[in-house]
Structures are given as C-alpha cells and as structure tokens.
C-alpha cells in the first residue's frame, strides 16, 4: 500500500506523457496505413481505370490517372467476345461441389480428431499434419496418369472429387481447433440423452462451429479459384473452360487490346470480391483461431 502511495504521482505524470506519445504514434501509424493502403490498392485502381478507357487513351503519354471519359460501354462490348457467363458457370460447376465436399468431409475429420478416441489416431493425425508440408506438385504427374487411365481427363471429376477426400489437412486441422473450443459438457449432456456420435456432430457440433465451416468453404473457394495449374492440366476443351482459362484464351486473341483485356480482368475480379465481402468477418475469426495454436 505505502509503496503504491509513493509511486502513484510519479507514475501518473509519466502515464500522461506516455498517453500523449502513444496518441502521436497512433496518428503516425494511421497516416502510414493510409499511404500503404493507397499503394496496395493502386494496381487494382489502375486496372479498373484502364478498363474504362479506349486503347487510344491508354497509349497516350503521359497516362491519364483518371479516365478522360468513363467508358462503361467497354463492358458490354467486351462481353460480346468474352463468354463471361458461360465461363463463370463452368467455374461454379467445379467450385460449388468441391467446396461443399471439402466442408463436409473436413468437418467429419476434424470432429473425429478433436473428440473421438480411437486406435491409430496419433498416427493418422501425424500423417495428416505431415501432408501439409508435402509439396502437392510431386503428386501431379501420377495423379494425371491415374485420371487419364480412368478416362476422366477433360471432365470436371479430377477437379471435384479430390475435395471430397477430407478437404485438405489444413482445413481438417482448422475444424479440429474449433471443435475443441466447444464445451465437452454439451456432448456429454447429449450422450446422456441418448444421442450417438453422429447426432452429436450434426445437432451440437455443427451449429457451434458454423463459422469455422464457412471459413473452410471460403479458403477452399479462394484456393480453387486461384488454382490455374489443375485447370490447365485437366481441361483442354474450350467449351469446358473456366473463367481463368477463358481469360487466358481471351488475352491470347486480343493481344494488344488492353482496354478489353482489362475489362475481362475486372469482370473476373467480381465474384471473388463478392465472396470476400460476404465472408470477411468469418475469415479473420477463423484464421485467428488457427494462427494461435500453430
């Protein structure tokens, strides 16, 4: 008590000067953040601004930072030759089932690892976590050979089915971390009420970890959305092209028409941005959960 009484005034003044310094530092950080955010966003703005200009305007020097005329008509014009909706439909035909499969099977696996006790658990878990470090490129050739032996190259199966197999080690791990935060008492109460493991999973665990499942879905979505390699490897027929492959072909045939290419680029940004805006909140929450325990 007495020590505190003596120290209080000294600490008080120091605290005041500290909070003043703290506030100055916060303002500095804020300014820095604005600058960095402008730099990071600038490429996206530049792409967008290019999509609203004619090629003549694009090739002018010095370049205009704001489109001289906002040519929104570029978009309908681009859509005439860029089969956006068809490519988007193809992409979704792959993505939606794959994401669904990943979420379901990762949830099953994550729940088993978090809650159930069984022989071989440690071994299996080690295999699972170990596979996160294994380069997936190493499996590319044998898997391609296997799929072509099955006659399924140029179908969507090689791009969908693998995601029904656990949805990736990271996602299983993420679900496991979340399930571990659900109080065990809930399970026990349900067991007393006569629920089996499956019913506990469906009626108790799933509602409690919905956020995590959404995160897994979003992460999977982005992963597949960005996965050009698998699409290039397995799909060669034009009518089956995804957005990425379609954009690539479009780029090839409109070599110097940067205005149209930038339009097509912006169009393919849209679904990702929409999904991100919807899931943003869950995203951060989910990554916070796993980031800590690693």
């Amino acid at each position: 008590m007495s020590i505190r009484a003596i120290k209080m005034p000294a600490r008080g003044s120091r605290a005041a000067s500290r909070s003043r310094r703290e506030r100055a530092a916060n303002i500095l950080c804020f300014v820095l953040l604005i600058l960095l955010a402008l730099i990071v966003m600038f490429p996206i703005y530049w792409i967008f601004r290019s999509s609203l200009m004619s090629n003549g305007e694009l090739y002018a020097y010095p370049p205009a930072f704001v489109p001289p005329a906002w040519r929104f008509e570029n978009y309908p014009e681009t859509l005439k030759s860029f089969e956006y909706l068809k490519f988007l439909g193809n992409t979704m035909t792959i993505l939606l089932p794959a994401v669904f499969g990943a979420v379901i099977t990762a949830t099953m696996g994550g729940y088993a690892f978090a809650r159930l006790r069984f022989r071989g658990k440690k071994f299996l878990f080690t295999l699972c976590v170990g596979s996160m470090l294994l380069p997936s490129m190493v499996t590319l050739i044998p898997l391609f050979i296997a799929w072509s032996k099955l006659g399924l190259v140029n179908t969507y199966w090689p791009l969908i089915l693998p995601h029904f197999c656990g949805g990736g080690a990271f996602n299983i791990f993420l679900i496991r971390q979340f399930v571990k935060t659900v109080p065990r008492e809930l399970d026990e109460a349900a067991t007393i009420d006569g629920c089996g493991f499956f019913r506990i999973l469906v009626f108790i665990i799933v509602p409690a970890i919905k956020a995590a499942m959404i995160v897994v879905g979003l992460l999977k979505f982005i992963e597949l959305w960005n996965d050009l390699l698998q699409q290039v490897t397995y799909i060669t027929r034009r009518e089956r092209y995804t957005l990425a492959l379609g954009l690539n072909i479009f780029r090839g045939s409109f070599n110097d028409d940067w205005s149209s290419i930038m339009c097509a680029t912006c169009l393919s940004f849209i679904p990702g941005i929409i999904f991100y805006l919807i899931g943003q909140r869950y995203f951060v929450e989910g990554i916070v959960m796993t980031g800590m325990k690693n």
Binding site: R11, N26, C29, F30, L33, L36, A37, V40, M41, F42, P43, I44, W46, L58, Y61, P63, T105, G109, Y111, A112, F113, L116, F118, G120, K121, L124, C128, L133, L134, P135, M137, T139, I141, L143, F144, S148, C165, G166, I172, F197, F198, L201, W225, L228, L229, A244, L247, W258, I261, M262, S268, F269, G272, I273, Y276, F283, I287, V288, G291, M292
Partner: protein, 305 residues
C-alpha cells in the same frame, strides 16, 4: 462429490473407434490415394523413361544424371526458383509483419484496412498477373511512367532475364495478405503486461519490439516462414499465365519445368525426377527450419504439448 480418478490406460470403445474411422474415411482415402501413394509413385516413375503411351523402360538414375549433367536449363531453373522463393518469402514476411504491427495499434477503420490489405489475396490469380503485366508494360505501363517521371529510362520488367524474377516476386509480396491476418492474430496474443512491465523499466519502443514482440511472435513467424517457403518453392502460376518460363530461364521455375516436360513433351519419368528433386529441396529447407527452430523459437510458459 467424489472425484473419479482418471484411468491411465486408454481403453478404446469399439463403436467409438468404428465411428471415428467412418468419419475419417474420406480423409484416409484422400491421404492414401491423392497424397502418399502418388508421392511414392512419383519416386518410382522417376526411374523410368515413359512417354505415356508405349512401354515403360527402367533406366535407373539416368533421368537424374541427365538433369544434373546434360540439361542446360536445369541449373537456371533451380536458381530462378530459389531466387524467387527467397525474395518473395523474405519480402512478404517483412511486408505483412509491418502491416500487421500497424494494424495492431488503436487506429480508426482497422477493419477497413485489414480488408484492403487482404483483398489482393482473394482475386483470381490469372487476372492479377494480367493486370500486373499491364502495369509492367514497357511502353505504357504505370511503373515505367513513374520511372520516366523521376528521370530514369524505361525498364523491361518482364522481358529481361535478370528482372523478371524479382518483378514476379514483387507480385507475390503484394498477394501475401493472408500472412497479415495470421501475424495480426499472433500480435493480439502478445501479453500486454509484458509491454507495460518493460515500459516501466524504461525500455523504448524499439527495445520492446526486439525483446518482447519479436520473441513472442517467433512461433508465428516460424509457421508463416515454413508455409510460404513450401508454397513459393512450388511457384508456377506466373510462368503459366504470363511469361511461359522466359526470357531465358528467368521464370523457368522448377514446377514449370516439370509441367512442360511432363505435359508438353510427354516425358513423364523426366518430369517425375524434377518433382523428386523439388521434394528434396523442400525437405532440406523444412529440415533446416525445424532443426534451427529450437534455437530461436520462444515458447511462452509451458504452452507446448
């Protein structure tokens, strides 16, 4: 209330075991059929010469011998991959750490900023690279305009073998928004009391950063380092979408080499040998990281299992 002592010996309930294996069935199939078996198959395939149609011919280590002694592009590919991974891993760790530190302060609109820095990560890869190609354009690109504005001469970012790797690595840094979120999560876990105690002892911000923040963050840094190293050594998308490996071997990443050898030239055995070497490289780096981790990772308390 009586406390039931915990049984030491684990007794497995049979129905529980059965349920668990049933739930894990998809994962088990995945781990065997799409991860571990193909990996073994890759090792086996690397000892053969096979074009995908005719007979497979066992040739022992010939594929490796050819890679190391006769393939003129292999060392270029190796160096390019290492250079790309080096720049993009170090760059993105530093970049995302700085952003995360800034975001960890009490600043307005944090959620908005977080969204901004994360955004590049959710955009489709090919579109991103196309956009950047335009920014890097020799005649009309933004960067060359800025260079000319400040008195320099135009630079061929993607068309010179020396600059293409760092130019592509810069895009990787720009795309590393997911690391920011993980760092941020870690920073929020650094106990505030440590900072307060150090401040009372008169430590300045810099000292606190080096002696508190960094040590507390080492497990997260380790995780991010490991994961981004594994993924960046497997880089292929920029080569696939923009540069097709060139100019020279400037973007002829090992994965791209693997891809071209296997799927364009139909040399499956040769491609598999490249895959095995890539695997070995990643294993060596992972091994080094794990081996040194005891020396530099700080685990708070006995948090370790």
């Amino acid at each position: 209330m009586t406390v039931v002592p915990k049984k030491k010996k684990i007794r497995y309930n049979r129905s529980e075991t059965r349920t668990a294996w049933l739930l894990l069935l998809p994962s088990v199939i995945g781990l065997t059929c799409i991860t571990y078996l193909p990996m073994i198959a890759s090792f086996a395939l690397s000892l053969f010469s096979w074009n995908g149609l005719g007979d497979m011919k066992y040739i022992g280590l010939d594929n490796y011998v050819r890679l190391f002694t006769r393939d003129t592009k292999f060392y270029g590919s190796l160096l390019t991959t290492l250079e790309y991974a080096g720049i993009s891993v170090i760059g993105s760790i530093i970049y995302s750490m700085i952003i995360a530190m800034l975001l960890n302060r009490k600043v307005p609109a944090r959620g908005f900023f977080r969204a901004v820095f994360y955004l590049p990560y959710v955009l489709p890869a090919l579109a991103v690279y196309l956009g950047w190609k335009w920014l890097y354009d020799y005649n009309h690109g933004l960067f060359n305009y800025l260079i000319k504005l400040s008195g320099g001469t135009s630079v061929k970012f993607l068309d010179s073998s020396g600059l293409v790797t760092p130019s592509l690595a810069l895009i990787a840094v720009w795309l590393s928004g997911n690391l920011i979120v993980i760092f941020l999560a870690g920073l929020q876990n650094v106990p505030r009391t440590y900072h307060e105690a150090a401040e009372i002892d008169g430590a300045n911000a810099w000292q606190r950063f080096w002696n508190i923040t960094i040590p507390c963050m080492t497990p997260i840094i380790f995780y991010n380092l490991l994961m981004s190293l594994v993924s960046n050594l497997q880089v292929i998308t920029p080569a696939l979408s923009l540069t097709q490996g060139g100019p020279g071997t400037g973007s002829y990443f090992m994965c791209f080499m693997l891809y071209t050898q296997a799927f364009k030239s139909h040399k499956y055995g040769y491609g598999s040998a490249i895959a095995v070497i890539l695997f070995a490289i990643i294993a060596v780096f992972t091994g080094i990281l794990f081996a040194t981790s005891k020396g530099w990772i700080f685990y708070e308390g006995d948090d370790r299992e």
